[in-house]
Amino acid sequence: MPKIVGLTGDEAVAHAVKQCDVDVIAAYPITPQTIIVETLGDFIANGELNAEMVHVESEHSALSVVTAAALTGARVFTATCSQGLALMFEILYITSGVRAPVVMAIANRALSAPINIHADHSDSMAARDSGWIQLYAENVQEVYDLIFMAYKIAENKEVLLPTMVCLDGFTLTHTLERVEMLDDDVALKYLPKKPTYAHPISIEEPATYGSLALPDYYFEFKIQQEFAMNRAKEVIPKAMEEFTKVSGREYYVYNAYATDDADVIVISLGSTSGTMRSVAKELRKKGIKVGTVALRVYRPFPAKELKEVLSGAKVIVTMDRTLSFGALGGPLFEDLRSLFYDEDRRPLIADVVYGLGGRDLTPSDAKAIFEYGLEIAKTGHIPELVKFVGVRE
């Protein structure tokens, strides 16, 4: 029987990592990620997890350690956020470039300056072009579940790309929620233990990893990463479907609510999606036609699936919890706008930037966002491409 427990998001990550029988863990402490590593440390110290924990002196080394370790065929894990992710930036591209199936939890936290420890997506969004798959969790159950799916996707021989599981700092990392756990044997059946890397380091057949590739070959390396991302678009829904089979919990690249006949659909990432859905439910009771999409997979961008679910709406409001300074709008907004550019019938698409540095998005803010979308639907006019919600101007 599956165990039902109360876990914080950080603890949920650690429990899932333990059940994945990870071999090498390297991490450097950063709030609000620390409980993940502390919990894993407890598991190792108590003999519940047979893994090597490398207590590195920086996040740069954390990612270097697990990337190199993955080349041996070991299953590896790290976790960070914010400044730590920023310090890893150089290696992010190397991990994906050597096609190491590293799984990393990102306890989403705002970037300095000013220094801040609370949730926004400026850290992981900055890494969206680094060749990593990005998954976003809405609640602690999803945090737990997405760790298993992350390994399933990353280690798929058609993919071999590193994968981030993003969970909002404090809102998910430190909030205790009900979690239904997988039985250990079910977990390892979903995720069999075998050498994870395509061509693990071998003494008998020595190979060179991390070559110098000049203009005559570099492009071919990079195009193969893009092909792998494209294959991941097929692999991810299958991995989710298989997970649904073993867990009984419904998973898809997004979680849609009341989108079929909605005039306004709000699309968001992370814990905000729960707030938006609950307010949408209230509005629906009053007969107001609004819906929500909680996007679980941001990279590779599930274009086909999103077009299907969103194309009936008159208005799409994108929720960006980051600022793309000087750009047309936030990253989710720009992706959605591009997605519909070639369509004959295009929804109006407006952006909302909110919640920076942990600023709360209240239900009344959420209601105002739906009303803003409904107003656009009525007038057919977007007053401002980017609307800032919850900020003193």
Partner: protein, 320 residues
């Protein structure tokens, strides 16, 4: 003593290094310390060695080679060492040979940008050997000064100007920094003394924890000398006491493996190298004297350290 050099050459000829490259010579020699029943994985920092040996689709490495970035060779080696340890414990490692993990970096990747990752790996006590091939500047990017560039040497960022004649600072003491971590074994070595170098590499491989070899690797391109003189210059660095050969065991015991009771004048070393051409000018006499004084003081301090620590026993793994 005599040793017979083993047949397998793990670094293949035909790589793209400059003629007379001291770095590739040093690494070739170091890998000769591996026994036939041992295997090795090298983790190499960005730099000359990585660039000249791994231009895709070719490789000069007959052993597994990993390159990630400039400053993280020690971290990469830590990851591989940790992975091998846990895979063996779980019965998932197929290889039966003893596998050594060897990290290699130049002076830029070791003295400067890689020092933090190196310190972390030494403190954590991974069983690996770190080799620094020190050619005393950023040679791969075109001879810029590093923390290993010696006093008054010319580089493209410490040019010989009318006000400032070459690098004003002295070189960082890498062996001292490594030894401060109290790791089992630290040694300096020279490709001009290959038997000494190979023996030291063997001790480094035998050591029960981290070991570091600091190898002076003359660079004809950056030091501005005739490529045929690499070994001669490597030897002169030792014979003038400019680069003494010694070991530090557990951060405590000092052993000078090549005492130089009667050093040759420092100018014998300087005059063969274009990077020191200005040092032969009469107005540079004081700078030459200062260099010679510092070099001799350090050598004498080393001799004192070896004298006062001579009663500390040598560990059993030291004997090769």
């Amino acid at each position: 003593m005599s040793i017979s050099l083993p047949k397998p050459e793990y670094l293949a000829p035909g790589h793209a290094a400059c003629q007379g490259c001291g770095a590739t010579l040093a690494i070739r020699q170091a890998l000769m310390a591996l026994r036939p029943d041992e295997a090795a994985i090298v983790v190499v920092a960005t730099g000359c060695l990585e660039v000249v040996t791994t231009i895709y689709p070719r490789t000069s490495w007959r052993i597994p080679f990993v390159h990630l970035a400039f400053e993280n060779a020690a971290a990469g080696a830590s990851g591989i060492e940790a992975a091998l340890r846990v895979l063996e414990r779980k019965g998932l490692l197929k290889e039966k040979k003893k596998i050594h993990v060897i990290a290699i970096g130049g002076d830029g990747g070791t003295f400067d940008i890689g020092l933090q990752a190196l310190s972390g790996a030494l403190e954590r006590g991974h069983k690996f050997v770190y080799i620094c091939y020190d050619n005393e500047a950023y040679m791969n990017t075109g001879i810029q000064r590093s923390g290993a560039t010696p006093y008054r040497a010319w580089t493209t960022t410490t040019p010989v100007g009318s006000k400032i004649p070459g690098k004003p600072q002295f070189k960082k003491n890498l062996a001292g920094i490594a030894a401060a971590h109290e790791i089992p074994y630290v040694a300096t070595a020279s490709p001009g003394y290959h038997v000494d170098l190979i023996n030291k590499m063997r001790r480094a491989l035998n050591a029960p924890g981290p070991a570091l070899l600091h190898i002076l690797a003359p660079c004809p391109t950056g030091w501005r000398y005739d490529p045929s003189l690499t070994v001669e210059i490597a030897r002169l660095a030792v014979q003038t006491r400019f680069f003494p050969l010694y070991e530090i065991i557990y951060g405590r015991k000092y052993v000078v493996t090549m005492p130089v009771p009667k050093p040759r004048p420092i100018t014998d070393y300087l005059k063969l190298q274009g990077r020191y051409a200005h040092m032969l000018r009469p107005e540079m006499k004081k700078d030459v004297e200062r260099l010679e004084k510092v070099v001799n003081e350090f050598y004498e301090w080393l001799m004192k350290m070896s004298e006062v620590t001579k009663d500390l026993p040598l560990p059993s793994w030291y004997h090769v």
